[in-house]
Amino acid sequence: MRKFIDKIKPAFEKGGRFGFLHSTFDAFESFLYVPDTVTRKGAHIRDCVDLKRIMIIMVLALVPAMLFGIWNTGFQHKLAFGLEEWGFWNIVGYGLVKVIPLYLVSYIVGLAIEFISAQIRGHEVNEGYLVTGMIIPLIVPADVPLWMLALAVAFAVILGKEVFGGTGMNIWNPALLARAFLFFSYPSTMSGDTIWTPGMTRYLAEGKAFACGNGLVDGFSGATPLAHPSVDGLQTAGTSLWDLVAGIIPGCVGETSVIAILIGAIVLIWTGVASWKIMLSSVIGGLAMGYLGFAVGATDLPGYWQLAMGGFLFGTVFMATDPVTSAQTETGKWIYGFLVGALAVTVRLFNPGYPEGMMLAILLMNTFAPLIDHYVINGAISRRTRKIKTA
């Protein structure tokens, strides 16, 4: 294979027949082989870690959440339509049918834009989208129409990333931008009680759900726990804390299971790919606000419920920690994480219009991360100047 690549390589080089596809060729080549480039300036040897490795670790960390999401998609469908006879493979099969198209759309649209813009700029294709493309299907409801998803992905990649210059230059987390785009452009399909259960949209439109003629089970609500965040509300819906931790509740594809997300978190923290400071401080911020709300009577759920519900943990572990859009300084990370957690719960508790605050909290703090860093650095510099003067 190496010989074949070396043989066709000249055609893709500058001046070659397919010279205009240089970045594309390069992307595929460097995907298969670590390039043979050697150091020219500076340090003669380099660490063998590169961004591809970091991104693939990130993707691996998302796999538990994705696998669980596939299962849960089928499981929620089974619950909603009372498909008692469905076994494990039926559930997974239905989940795959729902989730795989989301991935196809996400990767095809996103990577196509990524390749084209790399080609236009003459850069190497950046591997950042591998992670973004992995996250996007996990933070949308399984029933989202595919054309909307395609539009959202295009919006996020073009306006969220490429106009700033690609991975490493963007201000906002592209995956969250895609979700925000869906949320604000098509609120009717991104909120309410019916979107969260897979197969429901089709049922409402055509009167039958995929693969079965069953109607809805009696007493079905379809609402996520966030729609009725109170002791009574959860009791009526029959949702226990264990359901939340295991993730057998309706919600976005990958956000429901605390356990799956924590497995990912362990991988990320141990490999150092994501900052444990941001995760910890975000959890602290969420707990602090959760208990404050509990104390003043905004909710009757103790603070730890806030961590288990909705996309709080998923956002904390996989999206608030995005190294590009989060705070860059170590002190800044503590402040940033705390505010993400606190804001997310604040929106949940005090704004009835938005049951989930995680997306808005992270996007808002992405915006303010450079400001936090600015003050942290200025503070460090002036503290230091004072120290040197007195010494």
């Binding site: 190496r2 460097s30 298969l32 082989y33 670590v34 390039p35 043979d36 480039t37 050697v38 150091t39 020219r40 300036k41 500076g42 340090a43 003669h44 040897i45 380099r46 660490d47 063998c48 870690v49 590169d50 961004l51 591809k52 490795r53 970091i54 693939i56 670790i57 190497e124 950046n126 950042g128 210059g165 690609g166 991975t167 490493g168 230059m169 141990w270 490999t271 150092g272 790919v273 900052s275 190294p323 590009v324 989060s326 860059q328 300084t329 170590e330 650095i377 460090a380 510099i381 230091r384 100047t385 040197i388 010494a391």
Partner: protein, 451 residues
């Protein structure tokens, strides 16, 4: 005794091929080279022509801006070739050595018997003045300056670095004289830093007229710039000088014997070195003289210095003025199938936990020069501070250098660092950014703008 300054951040790269403390060979130089490119920002004025005969210590070129600063020949012989690069930039002056070596006699002298001007003149005439390096910027010290203090690091933590206790074991007297000389050039004292583990066993702790400091930790704890930032950080307007211990010995030799003597023990190291050990060599010696240390004939990079900061001189190149180490590493110009995706990649080392090299902390690796990835924008933010035990923000400093923003460069501590201090940041960078070269451009811009 001063306190131990323990540095937490840092990294000792486990590269194979450290030299055993044994001098295997005495090199009789054939052709050597004096290289103006060893000195930052130097504009040389050539003083010799091809065919001129020189003694060891005869001037070869001078600094165009400060013509008193002379650069002299380490051997007696004939100028055989003057090598110029693009735009006729002076690269090397090659000198064919005589069979019998003769030196200029600069006259032995007790440092205390001379006044400051006399000491400076002796250093300038002999060609040892360029051994004094100024911080900020890492340029040759200006003879008119009176530095705040002079700093010497008595140990090196660089990968496979020569063991100074071995290379300078017979030079104690010379080092002491050198320190006495340096003491005459500053009022702030000569600060010498030792390593915690070797301090009490090191012969150098008996040195007098010094301000001792003790450091502990991994590389770059031995970098003088890192030490200065913990002893007395450089702020705008400060000028301090640094001298390597090897050069201090050479200065001492000048005052003890009256000769410009650049012979030194040089460590031949690296994964591609056969039986890595020391040779008795000289500044400017040719790589041809250590050819028998190479494992193979082709595909080897000859580095004058260490793998992080050294210069790729090529198989016909010459040892740098300051270097006491040659590192031989393999050129990694090979494609590796699915390298980044393999779960295990046991022949490679990574400081991060994304590979499994943390499971084998004692293992030494035959690292090569492969870049292991393509250049990208800055993405990771916390990998750099883990290997930089200084109170600065490396990413912000580098970005300021890229933008050429002088105010920001000042704020972020450009005065405190030179390339070698950020070399480890470059090593660990997953975005493969050429940090040292960007910093270099930044420093050059500062030199131009602040002149």
């Amino acid at each position: 005794m001063s306190n131990i300054i323990e540095l937490k951040q840092g990294l000792d790269i486990p590269i194979a091929g450290s030299a055993v403390p044994k001098a295997k060979k005495v090199i009789t130089p054939d052709t050597i080279a004096v290289k103006p490119v060893d000195f930052r920002g130097l504009i040389p004025r050539l003083l010799v022509r091809e065919g001129d005969t020189l003694l060891a210590g005869s001037p070869v070129f001078a600094d165009k801006v400060t013509p008193e600063i002379l650069f002299t020949s380490p051997v007696s012989g004939t100028v055989s070739e003057i090598v110029r690069g693009e735009k006729r930039k002076l690269l090397e002056i090659r000198i064919k050595a005589d069979k019998e070596q003769k030196s200029v006699d600069f006259g032995a002298a007790k440092p205390n018997a001379l006044d400051e001007a006399g000491i400076k003149e002796k250093l300038l005439k002999s060609g040892l003045w360029p051994a004094l390096v100024q911080r900020p910027y890492g340029i040759i010290a200006k003879p008119a300056d009176k530095p705040k203090a002079i700093f010497i690091s008595a140990f090196s933590t660089a990968p496979l670095a020569a063991d100074l206790e071995f290379t300078l074991k017979d030079e104690f007297e010379n080092i002491q004289t050198g320190i006495n000389v340096l003491n005459r050039l500053t009022k702030g004292g000569v600060h010498v830093s030792f390593h915690r583990e070797t301090y009490s066993s090191s012969p150098f702790h008996k040195l007098e007229n010094i301000v001792p400091h003790i450091f502990g930790g991994k590389h770059p704890a031995g970098n003088v710039g890192v030490q200065i930032s913990h002893i007395s950080p450089i702020v705008k307007g400060d000028v301090v000088w640094t001298v390597s211990l090897t050069m201090t010995a050479a200065i001492g030799k000048l005052f003890n014997t009256g000769r410009y003597d650049m012979t030194r023990l040089v460590a031949v190291t690296g994964p591609e070195a056969k039986e890595p050990s020391y040779v008795k060599g000289i500044a400017g010696m040719s790589m041809n003289d250590i050819r028998e240390f190479c494992n193979t004939d082709t595909g080897i990079r000859f580095i004058s210095g260490d793998v992080l900061t050294g210069t790729n001189v090529g198989s016909d190149g010459f040892l740098g003025f300051f270097d006491n180490q040659i590192t031989l590493v393999k050129e990694g110009n090979e494609h590796e199938l699915f390298g980044w995706a393999k779960p295990f990649r046991s022949s490679q080392f990574s400081a991060s936990h994304t590979y499994f090299s943390w499971l084998t902390p004692k293992k030494k690796y035959s690292l090569d020069t492969n870049l292991h990835g393509g250049p990208r924008a800055f993405v990771m933010s916390d990998v750099y501070s883990k290997v930089l035990p200084m109170d600065i923000f490396p990413v912000y400093l580098i970005k300021a250098c890229m933008a050429g923003n002088i105010d920001k460069m000042e704020q972020f501590g450009i005065y405190e660092v030179i390339e070698e201090d950020l070399a480890l940041c470059e090593y660990v960078c997953p975005s493969k950014i050429e940090i040292q070269s960007i910093l270099s451009d930044g420093i050059n811009l500062m030199l131009k703008e602040m002149a």
